[in-house]
């Protein structure tokens, strides 16, 4: 986690962070990684996980946002400590691209990350409001914790808000 100017916290690869409004949360250069943004519009609490891989298979890691299944649960618990309520929380997903078209299984990791993140959210009963996933394009995302809006930037096309 790195704090930069303008009230933005950068959530690095495999990390996660929960915060109150108006601090913004950002994940830079998502390829196959998936940014899972959670938001409680009532408490105005936001969280972002920069997920690398689909399943922990029981292994714990110092990087609490590394695996989709444990990242979502960890992030939810951090947000609850900031007075967010699970029943109010909604989710947005960004990333999960295939940057290269090589043969190896690792090149489908983006797709698997998205599926695993969705499953974890469904299991916890968290609704997915929007997503910008797949394709073969890198993405940077910024979560505004005052509105829940997520800005998605690319290298070679117009940015968009979801």
């Amino acid at each position: 986690m790195t704090i930069v100017s303008g009230g933005i916290i950068i959530v690095g690869i495999g990390e996660l962070f929960a915060t109150t409004s108006p601090t913004k949360l950002q994940a830079l250069g998502l390829g196959s990684c998936v940014g899972v943004a959670l938001y409680d519009p009532i408490a105005k609490v936001g969280g972002l996980a920069h997920v690398m891989m689909p399943e922990s298979n029981g292994s714990s890691n110092e990087l609490r946002g590394k695996y989709a299944d444990t990242a979502v649960a960890n992030l939810l618990s951090d947000m609850q400590k900031l007075a967010a309520r699970k029943e109010n929380i909604v989710a947005k997903l960004v990333g999960g691209a295939s940057m290269f078209s090589l043969s190896h299984d690792v090149f489908r990791i983006g797709e698997k990350n998205v599926i695993a993140a969705k499953k974890s959210l469904n299991d916890l009963g968290i609704r997915i409001l929007a997503e910008d996933v797949g394709g073969s394009v890198g993405r940077t995302m910024l979560l505004h914790t005052d509105t829940g809006e997520v800005e998605v930037r690319y290298v070679n096309r117009e940015s968009r808000k979801i």
Binding site: L30, F100, H104, T140
Partner: protein, 205 residues
């Protein structure tokens, strides 16, 4: 398996691998450009994922990248990364016009760039094979222009299964004042770096 610290002899061997690979690629580039190409002393280290991304000037830095997956006696990845302005310089040096940026290249310019980087990557790999005597298969090189973080997600998610760090053998090179700065990153699988070390130790007798 976790990568432990290397002794100085191991570092010397891995440095030599980076030297030979990039040295041959630099020679190939100097022939293409008909000019001198300088090369850095290879950097060898065990890096956290975040540090690996910072080697390419941060997650949002746009790079032109060629990724080759290797298998056989050595498993892992070879990434050749060029800063975008360097990719354009490269095209200019081989006598091609180019548009305002790497995203407006013509089909011919794009295929020229791909071809040059393919040659360099192939040269690197051949040199490593010759030096080590290892049988290494390589996939067809895959080409992308995007954020460094997004591109490095590929090797990172591969190594993420076994740890939170990678072994990196990095060599940079540049050409005169035009500064074609290219970086070769050899990222062997954790079980493969021992094969690499062994292949060269045996040669020492």
């Amino acid at each position: 398996m976790v990568i432990n610290k290397f002794d100085s002899n191991d570092i010397d061997i891995l440095t030599e691998i980076g030297n030979i690979g990039a040295g041959n690629a630099a020679t190939a580039l100097s022939e293409i450009l008909q000019g001198r190409v300088d090369m850095s002393v290879p950097k060898v280290g065990i890096l956290k994922f975040k540090e690996l991304i910072n080697e390419l000037n941060g997650p949002e830095n746009i790079i032109v990248a060629i990724l080759v997956e290797v298998s056989g006696d050595l498993d892992g990845f070879i990434l050749f990364a060029l800063e975008t302005e360097c990719a354009l310089t490269l095209l200019r040096l081989v006598g091609m016009e180019y548009g305002k940026d790497v995203f407006s290249l013509s089909e011919l310019e794009m295929s020229t760039l791909t071809e040059i980087t393919n040659i360099l990557t192939g040269t690197y790999l051949t040199a490593v094979c010759d030096l080590t005597g290892l049988a290494i298969n390589a996939t067809v090189p895959s080409f992308a222009i995007d954020m460094a973080g997004a591109i490095l997600n590929v090797p990172i998610s591969f190594y993420g299964r076994v740890g939170d760090s990678v072994l990196l053998i990095e060599t940079q090179f540049k050409s005169g004042d035009d500064l074609v700065i290219g970086r070769f990153m050899l990222i062997p699988d954790v079980s493969s770096y021992k094969t690499l070390l062994k292949s060269l130790r045996n040669g020492e007798k």
